[in-house]
């Protein structure tokens, strides 16, 4: 251990390593990974001798590729682009041309890594980042195994970061997990869900477990229901329809990001803050999710929908089926609303309502905790029924923060009550911009901290829940219908009915 590090450490120190990005000419690398690594260097967080190998198919020179990255770094970096720093940083990036199917390309990669070890005198830690379509994961992982690259040299580690989607259903996820775990130990596998890297998601645990006032109320005795909304005011621009139509909102957003938020809200206090302590607590939530089985149950609890033509942000918008690269007869949902139950002692009878969709009026991801009403004996006539409940809102993005709605007396001779809002906003209280989720997550993987990554069992349990719904939609004789909503509205009427049946309404955002 470096003695000078001991009292400087504010977090587990990342180890020096080489990061091999598969699919490095892709969008994710340009927009997130390289700017993320650059920002880590900018903040002095990147350990010395960190090198980056960019693995992709097209013919490119190191210099040419670095220039491309420089352009995108100027555009996407959180902190200003500094030529001198970029110069140092980019010299550590080398382009490795090969296809994923080419064995010889992987053996050249092994030679390259060996040469780095000798030149830098490093032990040879390697972080493989699979930033490609999932169709290639098998090829890459098998090639890593066969070429011996997945086995770290003595005293070193070899880890893999896997990008979403982790499969398209339980069997494909299990297959993927099998292939990953045939090549890497589970402890060396980091399934990235960038929602978990967001400050606001990390703050959920702090809010719940570091404040004494919330946890005693955090159960079915005091909470009426919970809503999670993830709204986007975008359609299928930039050709994203091609991928999106094969996935749909349920698989693209609910299976991973939104169920992860449910698990953070619903989990019991973990035994400790270790990666497995936290993930054990989360996985218990996934295990307790009540499954909706069959077309009838799914029809009652889940609403799927597509947008029709409308208007968003003052601009005319086409319907989902008229979008670029979306088939005219597509049945893929661009919106889904569902009622879930976590069948545990704490949450018995408390519904979690989730809605997520494209072409909604605004972009916002928020969780709201709706508390029970106060006994109505004293003030029952004084407030409008809908606003009588206290609501705690956790805004995940944008405008990150937490607010609490409560009732207050309106000044005057009569007892009239109105809701008021106490609001904490990250931007006004902490001027400093939060690091990007990817920065935090890459650093965690380099430090061997998997707390903010999804474990195999979390992913598989989530798929079990999702698969039953997909099955009812696509494999039953009388599948629940695909509802419609005009682009720019807050979703289909059927979603409103879902809550009305329970005597509730969606929160107005």
């Amino acid at each position: 251990m470096n003695p000078f590090r001991e009292d400087l450490a504010t977090r587990t120190a990342p180890d020096p390593c080489t990061i091999v990005i598969f699919g490095a000419t892709g969008d994710l690398t340009h927009r997130k990974l390289i700017p993320g690594l650059y920002n880590l260097l900018h903040d002095g967080e990147l350990p010395p001798t960190t090198r980056i190998v960019a693995f992709a198919r097209r013919e490119k020179t190191d210099e040419g590729f670095r220039q491309e990255l420089e352009e995108s770094n100027k555009k996407y970096s959180r902190q200003s682009h500094n030529d001198r720093l970029w110069q140092t940083f980019s010299q550590q990036i080398e382009y490795h041309q090969s296809t994923f199917e080419d064995k010889e390309g992987f053996s050249r990669l092994a030679d390259r890594l060996k040469a780095y070890r000798e030149k830098d005198g490093t032990v040879g830690n390697v972080l493989f980042y699979l930033s490609t379509a999932p169709d290639y994961f098998d090829d890459i992982l098998i090639a890593l195994k066969e070429s011996g690259l997945a086995k770290a040299p003595k005293n070193a580690w070899a880890r893999v970061i896997v990008e979403k989607p982790f499969g398209t259903d339980l069997p494909t996820a299990q297959h993927l997990n099998q292939v990953v775990n045939d090549t890497f130990e589970e402890a060396d596998t980091y399934r990235i869900d960038h929602y978990l890297g967001k400050e606001t998601a990390q703050n959920i645990m702090v809010l719940r477990f570091a404040n004494a006032i919330f946890e005693p109320l955090w159960n079915n005795q005091h909470i009426d229901h919970i809503q999670i909304t993830c709204a986007e005011n975008m359609g299928m621009t930039g050709g994203r329809g091609a991928y999106y139509d094969t996935a749909g909102a349920l698989r693209d957003m609910v299976q991973n990001h939104l169920l992860q938020l449910v698990s953070l809200i619903a989990m019991e206090p973990p035994a400790d803050l270790s990666a497995d302590g936290v993930r054990d607590a989360k996985v218990n939530v996934f295990k307790s999710l009540r499954h909706w089985v069959g077309a009838e149950e799914v029809g009652k609890n889940v609403v799927r929908a597509q947008y029709t033509a409308g208007s968003v942000d003052g601009i005319d918008a086409v319907g989902y089926r008229q979008e670029d690269r979306v088939p005219e007869d597509s049945k893929t949902e661009a919106y889904v609303a569902l009622r879930c139950f976590v069948d545990s002692w704490r949450w018995d009878g408390v519904p979690f309502y989730i809605r997520v969709g494209k072409q909604l009026p605004k972009k916002a991801t928020e969780i709201s905790i709706h508390f029970n009403e106060a006994p109505s004996v004293l003030f029952h006539k004084s407030a409008n029924q809908q606003v009588r409940k206290n609501v705690l809102v956790i805004r995940i993005q944008p405008d990150e923060g937490v607010s609490l709605r409560m009732l207050s007396k309106v000044p005057g001779p009569a007892v009239r009550m109105e809701p008021v809002k106490m609001d904490f906003r990250y931007k006004t209280s902490f001027g400093k911009a939060s690091p990007e989720a990817y920065e935090r997550l890459i650093l965690d993987a380099m430090a061997g901290d998997a707390t903010l990554f999804a474990r195999r069992d979390e992913v598989e349990h989530a798929w079990r829940f999702i698969d039953e719904i997909e099955k009812a939609w696509h494999q039953s004789d009388s599948p629940p219908p695909v509802a419609e909503y005009p682009a720019g509205s807050w979703g289909p009427k059927e979603a409103d009915t879902l809550l009305e049946q329970d005597g509730r309404v969606w929160r107005r955002l």
Binding site: P3, A13, P47, T49, F430
Partner: protein, 329 residues
């Protein structure tokens, strides 16, 4: 109206502040702390106002600025209020308020009362005591402080001031965390120096260091002494195997230089562009790394310190006594 804002009567401060906020509907008032600065310097008010404006960019607070002039020809009390507003998200302005006091021949009790009377309730109190301690710094004051900022490199007699601090810290009524801005300023150097030994090939070089020299600009002898004290206390060198020293540099730069039988490890500032360069040259191996040199303006250093929080580990018990010895030689 001066940079200090609008003059007010002491008794009117609270109502004037309320009026200030009611005037401007677009502004959001935000506060994470009470941030007070106490100084006995005659012409520091405007400079300190600039510092507070800088701090509020990243750290919303209620700022209380006190300039005390014990040698003023007569007793006087003047006060001003102002707001520092920053645009957030391009539209709404987020504002921190500042109350400024200029006190001629003040009594210790007046100063304490002024701090106590203008705190934003329930929020922690950060007090930056500029310069040497005076009798105002007594238990009734320091028992209220959550974090105390000092800047030991500005002290003429560090040993005496640290003794005052030790007494305050030992007092059972005190609970403040202590931050020395001199130490905060060294953080980039400490990170870059630690980074030298992160290099796998350099780890074993640590036990073979035969000389360690820190050069420093003319006015940074205290900083250099702290850095040397930190390096020597954290490593296990003894004086006979490793010659460790600080010396003034004619180029006015702070550099760290380790000598070993196989080569050298150095940290030097880069020219003009705000980075530190660490270089490891051991046998055939040469490796360089760039680190941010961190901000050089006081406001950013204070803001960074407030943001990172935590106690300065080991600083008071271990580093300070060692540094004082180095300064005394």
């Amino acid at each position: 109206m001066s940079a200090l804002g609008q003059p007010v009567e002491i008794a009117e401060i609270d109502s004037a502040l309320r009026a200030l906020w009611e005037e401007d509907n677009a502004a959001t008032r935000a506060s994470l702390t009470n941030f007070a600065i106490y100084s006995e310097c005659d012409d520091c008010l405007e400079a300190n106002t600039d510092v507070i404006a800088g701090i509020t960019r990243e750290h919303a607070c209620r700022a209380i600025l006190i300039a005390s002039r014990p040698d003023a020809p007569k007793r006087s009390v003047k006060a001003w209020i102002t707001a520092h507003c920053q645009l957030s998200g391009g539209q709404k302005s987020v504002c921190s308020e500042q109350v400024t006091f200029d006190l001629g021949q003040p009594s210790a009790s007046l100063i304490r009362n002024i701090v106590f009377a203008h705190l934003d309730s329930d929020l922690p109190l950060v007090l930056w005591w500029q310069g040497a301690f005076t009798p105002v710094f007594d238990d009734r004051l320091y028992s209220l402080i959550d974090r105390l900022l000092i800047d030991s490199s500005t002290w003429e007699n560090p040993a005496k001031e640290f003794e005052t601090l030790a007494t305050a810290r030992d007092d059972s009524t005190s609970r403040f965390l202590l931050y020395d801005l001199t130490w905060s300023r060294l953080l980039p150097y400490r990170l870059a120096t630690a980074g030298l030994f992160d290099h796998p090939a350099a780890a074993s070089a640590l036990s073979k260091v035969s000389a360690l020299t820190i050069t420093h600009p003319k006015n940074s002898r205290t900083e250099a002494a702290f850095l040397l004290a930190w390096l020597t206390t954290r490593s296990s060198w003894d004086a006979s195997s490793c010659k460790a020293s600080i010396k003034e540099d004619e180029k006015n730069e702070m550099t760290v230089h380790f000598t070993t039988p196989e080569g050298a490890l150095t940290v030097t500032p880069t020219r003009d562009d705000g980075f530190l360069k660490s270089t490891v040259t051991l046998g055939r191996l040469t490796a360089e790394q760039i680190y941010p040199a961190g901000p050089s303006d006081t406001a950013s250093i204070v803001a960074r310190q407030l943001q990172s929080g935590g106690a300065h580990a080991d600083y008071f018990e271990t580093i300070v006594p060692h540094a004082l010895k180095i300064i005394a030689t």
